[in-house]
Subunit: 204 residues, 4 copies
DNA sequence: TATGAATGAGCATTCATTCAT
DNA sequence: AATGAATGAATGCTCATTCAT
């Protein structure tokens, strides 16, 4: 039992050692040798814990998502409106410094890039599930907002889709327009606000 | 007297020969040697017409965009509404067969992927200008639609941005969800319709 | 007849266009294309006048040597001693500016380098004849100096050889120690003076 | 536990495998692939032991120099005069067969050639230190000879320089005149004898 | 004579992965 | 479990030379 925990810990430590490298140099450009060196293990050891480079990426992303969810959950209060919750979700409050958030944005772009040329289906499958998490979260929020009278909206499905697409598009735009994380984040907030405005009940 | 050839034609023929390869294997994964073989020329000849691999990609994309614009322009009529024009723009009527449209979707995804990990700035710069063309087209349409009373809208800027982002996001989703071109296209049409609906004057 | 002169002139103009390129980038690193461009002719035209790159180098070197001989001959006077003549020979008075002399030193080093790895025998043969010119000049000077009582020397052959070797060695040293032309030139003068001193009659 | 190998030995074996190739084809003209094949390892393995091609050349030369020094030291006796020592130094007694000495002469010429067109400064730096070793050895010998009354000489510096230059010049002449190793060696001996003669005390 | 389009061999270096120890 | 030595495939680009016009 203890063994298993050790194994999981080591796996995690290798994954963590890769994050900075992936962010700075890109996934493609980071070699297993560098990862091993950075994690303080031998090259062969990396392969004891991960079948290949992709698996490391997924492990990292799992860690990032988990952290994001936790940070989000501890940042919301019952009194927040659905709109506020959605916007809070994309505030990425888990990043406490500019450098780190910048890095994760780059990592996300690299991740996206790998997915777009993925032939193995690994990235694609991973990404779709990830897509779905976003969609589910947003449509649940909208549903709740509708139930509680915040929104007046028929087509929750389409609106949730639009928001999800806007988010993906924003990551692309951030790269194309060389936006910093906080600029990209502000852009997303603006877009979501704009989108939700039309469906928000004017109750004054 | 030099050999008589049409340089532009030859350049075009090499570019065309690359398309299939890029679509099937990706830009990064396609070697110049393969391109040369596919175009029926020697490796060195490719470099007589293109300074490097990136230039081939841009030349291809220029060709595709030019064709798209022409097809669009000849497919619209003065009586079409702004909304109809926008939707028509993303119908990609220039593709007369399924295989070809599928190919171009893949190419676009590869292009996007290259841009997302671009360090040289070449892809990024190219893509941003491309981004702007879309934005300008949409905001012009919206402007015209507003002027002619089709739309009731204050914030054209934000709406145009949303539509552009949705389009980029749709290319990402198409890959993640393994959509065929026509599915992706239908998805885009649905999204745009949904978005414009809220701003369309109910004139009955 | 006129044709032949034209041909010789054109050949010369191509050779001249190469000098700067060879000096700046090295013989190996200069492409025929660059030479052609610099000479204002087409690539193929270069091959009408020179069988290959080596021939251009030889043509250049012939020009340089010819110029050197002329400059030397017009710089000596009947009253000069043999020692003065030898030193004058290696003053390279034909170079009126620092840049040019620096360039020729580099060219000489490149020439030497090509000779040292020459398999064809072209460079070697050329260089040996060049070696002989130096040897003959020096031994003639020494002979004359001996005849006129300037030198007291039995073994002219060995001394001439030593001087020639010192000159070749100086070109090597100039590269290894990163000497500028005037430093190398001063070094040569010092060495020759030192060598001849022992054989100079003390006639006061 | 890792495979047990003697890294130094393997490095040496790869270096040794390169010697013949460098001698026959030149340094520039020998590819890493050929070196690997000749050493019986894979191309990538070469890079486990050497950062680049230059390092192989330097490793080879270090081996040759070390061997030369050892052979020299075990070939001198306390009773030898300074002149005899210098001449012994350039006898290259470590070569027990003609082929090998011939090979090293070629290698030296190739090395010289690479240095003469070196842009990186690697060869130049290496060569200059090598130059200095020669100079120091000779000037020490002359110093000692002077102290012990063998030589009557004021300007040790210039004489040592001359001898060093003559040696470099001899390598150049050997190529230009297509001399075999033993001819070149005899030439050097003759030149050194001639040079030292003038400074040797006539103690009759 | 002159052109310049076409050729295609040639090459250093990186790196994911394997496997003997 | 861990190591790290070994592998060898893979690739963009240059350039001397040829030759059809």
């Amino acid at each position: 039992m203890a063994r298993i925990i050790d194994k999981e810990e080591k796996k995690c430590s290798i994954a963590k050692a890769s994050i900075d490298l992936f962010c700075e140099k890109g996934i493609q450009q980071t070699s297993i040798e560098e990862i091993a060196k950075s994690a303080g293990v031998a090259k062969g050891t990396v392969y004891l814990y991960f079948k290949n480079k992709e698996e490391i990426v997924f492990a990292i992303w799992d860690m990032i998502v988990e952290r994001h969810i936790k940070a989000f959950e501890s940042s919301i209060t019952p009194s927040m409106s659905a709109k506020e919750k959605i916007i809070q979700f994309y505030k990425f409050s888990e990043f406490d410094n500019k450098d780190e958030s910048e890095k994760i944005l780059h990592l996300y772009q690299h991740f996206l890039s790998s997915m777009l040329v993925d032939n193995s289906g690994l990235f694609t499958a991973y990404f779709e599930s990830f897509f779905k998490v976003d969609y589910d979260f947003i449509s649940n929020c909208l549903e709740e907002g509708k139930r509680l009278g915040e929104f007046e909206i028929d087509d929750i499905h389409n609106l949730a889709n639009t928001i999800v697409l806007v988010l993906k598009g924003a990551a692309v735009k951030a790269k194309a327009s060389n936006l910093h994380f906080n600029e990209a984040q502000a852009f997303i907030t603006e877009q979501i606000s704009f989108l939700l405005e039309n469906f928000t009940r004017n109750e004054r």
